[in-house]
């Protein structure tokens, strides 16, 4: 009887690989059209240097993530904030967090629908595409996080396979001289791109603070594994930026909207397998898909704490998805307006709104922990 219970308990837990695959996807979520686009525009051929510096800077907020994830009370971020800051202030922080996460979800959703619209099916109305993409998202959200994690694991394997195909397929087209001159841009520009990288790759990871540690299988000493997953995702992110630059050159990556997709058109495996860019580019779409699901899961779980009625809880994903489409329809009508947002306030919103507030929670938790230790 006890054994069966343990088995059932394990079924309700997220497998280790599932949780780390979430980190992998979230860290790479903004690669397509957002993070890489802005970095390419700012520092062109020095993109990989910015990426490496950004990855190292990102380890600092990642420590906060690990600390929050491993909080002694085993609470998720929503309960933890209430516990740390009291009901009023905690609720305000939670509302801000939810708004920021929703902004991330909307941006990712708009980005993937725009990508499909411009590169795959330009004559189709954006709304059609959005409805099409939203279907699997709603379906995934109707399931529990353990089921989402299983999907994520499968997608991780597909994603890494596509990544390897991209790299091996592009190796013959590499022009090493495209890397020169190294450090062509001013250090200030490289550093600002590095911070941009940090925000784009680390901020979404904080979405996972909604999953309490007790829900993850074998979560003891998970700090090192989280770091490894983040570094692995970052290295893939950076290597894709680097190879895009090496193949296309700094001039071409500066003019295309999706250079990371355009470069895939050059893939040629054994001179037989060619024109597979649409298939291989699915790795970016999968990244975004899992990330949107997780972002909306964050909001769904937060709202569940307020809305206790199980019948209404069921419809939260539907409402959120419809709201996303409506907001995109109203505010994201012009692509140029969106790029301006990405270029300016989006970074600050995600940087301060997510990383900043999470670090604040971590700091408060640390101080309170110290004080209670002293009292004890």
């Amino acid at each position: 009887m006890t054994k069966t219970n343990t088995k059932n308990d394990k079924k309700d837990l997220i497998g280790g690989l599932g949780f780390y695959s979430f980190i992998y996807f979230l860290a790479k979520s903004s690669f397509l059209g957002m993070g890489s686009f802005l970095i390419f525009q700012k520092v062109t051929r020095d993109c990989y240097i910015s990426g490496i510096i950004g990855m190292l800077i990102g380890l600092l907020p990642l420590c906060s993530f690990i600390a929050i994830q491993n909080n002694k009370k085993g609470k998720d971020i929503i309960d933890l904030n209430i516990n740390l800051f009291g009901k009023t202030l905690g609720s305000i922080i939670n509302i801000i967090l939810n708004i920021v996460v929703f902004i991330i979800a909307i941006s990712l959703f708009f980005n993937v629908s725009l990508f499909a619209n411009t590169q795959y099916i330009p004559e189709t109305t954006g709304l059609y595409i959005q409805i099409l993409i939203i279907m699997p998202i709603i379906y995934a959200l109707s399931k529990d996080i353990t089921e989402i994690s299983r999907v994520s694991q499968i997608i991780l394997i597909i994603n890494i396979s596509f990544y390897l195909i991209s790299i091996f397929g592009l190796i013959p087209d590499i022009e090493i001289s495209n890397i020169f001159p190294v450090l062509e841009n001013k250090m200030s520009k490289i550093m600002s791109s590095a911070f941009l990288y940090t925000v784009f790759s680390v901020a979404p990871i904080f979405i996972l603070t909604i999953i309490p540690k007790r829900k993850v299988l074998n979560s003891t000493n998970n700090g090192r594994k989280i770091m490894l997953a983040y570094i692995m995702a970052s290295l893939i992110f950076i290597s894709l930026m680097l190879i895009t630059n090496l193949v296309m050159g700094s001039n071409l990556i500066g003019i295309y909207r999706y250079p990371e997709y355009m470069v895939l058109k050059k893939i040629s495996l054994f001179k037989i397998i060619e024109r597979i860019e649409s298939t291989v580019a699915l790795q970016f779409v999968f990244n975004i898909y899992i990330s949107i699901v997780l972002a909306l899961f964050f909001i769904k779980e937060s709202l569940k704490k307020i809305i206790k009625n199980a019948k209404i809880q069921k419809y939260i994903p539907h409402v959120l998805c419809i709201l996303m489409i409506v907001i995109i329809k109203i505010f994201f009508s012009k692509a140029t307006f969106v790029y301006e947002i990405y270029n300016s306030i989006y970074t600050y919103i995600t940087g301060f709104g997510l990383i900043g507030l999470m670090m604040l929670s971590h700091f408060t938790m640390y101080i309170k922990g110290k004080i209670s230790n002293k009292i004890a």
Partner: protein, 401 residues
């Protein structure tokens, strides 16, 4: 359950409503486009479309439609290329599809005055395949080239494309320049563009008739010509014969070529089958220089007189001879770039920009006018003729006595 059914209905409606669905039969697949300057500076666009009816039949089939051409041409004129292509819909029952385009032929007039604006449409449009080759029509209209009937390929566009690829692969006289790479060069600092060119040999008017391919020696032919060179995005002329190969040698893009040289009594042909090139800028004693190092492997393929290549010493002598010939050609080519063509197709500016960036920034403004023509070039060629070829011991080859 009701919600699931509702979702399914929505999915069915949405998927069915994708506006981009186009049947293969509804597409007019464009294999190549020729652009000339028309009246009032408009673009005169000629599109060559594959005749799907004919292509599907194969060459052996008969019937009424077997007399129809395997390709169809549509012509239109407008101020923009996009509109000119769209206007072809008045003639064509199908909308033009540029996803499988293989070649863009531009006239000299376009190359000389508005290449960048001409390429803009092809770069922006998502449907266009960016891997097609760009070619200049030398001394003729590009619309004439597109119509010439060729014996080995039913599709003249494919014929030109294959000729360029073959010439580039086995002779190194031309360059395989596609849209993406030519755009990259146009945008890059310190290097000028080159494009392959084609000429019509024979009577242009009879070239597009079926009789042209009925004779074993076709009266009207399309021939791959010298590379067209540009300065700041505008075509200025064509490279001299030997410079075409030297251009590709310096870029390290030669896969195979023949080097011809001679000693006191013998003419020698060497086939180069492997070549590596390294161009390095040097800043020494306030002087700018460029070192070009070329390593190549070759094989002696022909002597006009009896020759001895049995000893190592003799072989080295021929290596030096071939190396000297290559060096002479490269120095002549660089000198022509500096003084005759006045175009940095050799890419010295880019080399300085990449590898001596700090020094280059100081002279960036005046590099093209003041520094480039005076840069000294040091060429070092290392030829390796280790393969013996078909004849091992030439002493026994008495037939050349």
């Amino acid at each position: 359950m009701k919600i699931k059914i509702l979702i399914l209905i929505i999915v069915m409606l949405v998927v069915g409503g994708l506006d981009n669905s186009r049947e293969l039969n509804d597409l007019a697949i464009v294999s190549g486009i020729a652009i000339d300057v028309g009246e009032n500076g408009k673009y005169k666009v000629t599109a060559q479309i594959l005749n799907s009816k004919k292509q599907g039949q194969g060459s052996s089939s008969g019937g009424a439609s077997s007399k129809s051409s395997s390709v169809i041409e549509y012509r239109s004129e407008a101020a923009t290329i996009q509109l000119a292509l769209r206007n072809m819909i008045y003639e064509s029952p199908k909308r033009l599809y540029l996803g499988h385009m293989e070649l863009l032929i531009i006239s000299e007039e376009i190359a000389e005055s508005k290449l960048k604006s001409c390429l803009d449409f092809f770069v922006r449009d998502n449907e266009v395949n960016k891997e097609f080759l760009v070619v200049v029509a030398r001394g003729c209209k590009s619309e004439d080239i597109i119509g010439i009937q060729t014996p080995l390929e039913q599709d003249p566009i494919k014929n030109i494309k294959e000729s360029i690829i073959t010439t580039s692969k086995y002779e190194g006289r031309t360059a395989k320049t596609d849209l993406a790479s030519s755009l990259g060069v146009l945008l890059e600092e310190g290097v000028d563009l080159t494009l392959p060119s084609v000429i019509i040999e024979g009577d242009t008017k009879s070239g597009d008739k079926e009789e042209n391919i009925e004779q074993s020696n076709t009266p009207t032919k399309i021939i791959i010509s010298d590379l067209a060179y540009f300065k700041d995005g505008y075509m200025k002329g064509y490279l001299k014969s030997k410079d075409n190969i030297s251009y590709n040698m310096v870029r390290g893009k030669i896969k195979s070529t023949i080097v011809e040289t001679k000693d006191k009594k013998n003419k020698i042909a060497v086939e180069i089958y492997k070549l590596n090139s390294n161009v390095k800028p040097v800043y020494k004693d306030s002087k700018y220089e460029v070192d070009i190092n070329i390593n190549c492997d070759g094989i002696i393929t022909e002597f006009t007189q009896k020759a001895d290549v049995t000893s190592e010493e003799e072989l080295r002598k021929y290596e030096d001879l071939v190396g000297g010939a290559i060096k002479k050609n490269i120095l002549e080519y660089v000198s022509n770039c500096q003084n005759v063509y006045c175009s940095d197709i050799v890419g010295y500016g880019a080399v300085f920009h990449k590898f001596l960036n700090k020094e280059y920034k100081k002279i960036q403004k005046d590099f093209g006018t003041e520094y480039f023509p005076k840069i000294k070039t040091n060429v070092k060629v290392n030829v390796n003729l280790d393969k013996e070829g078909g004849l091992v011991n030439n002493d026994k080859n008495e037939y050349k006595k």
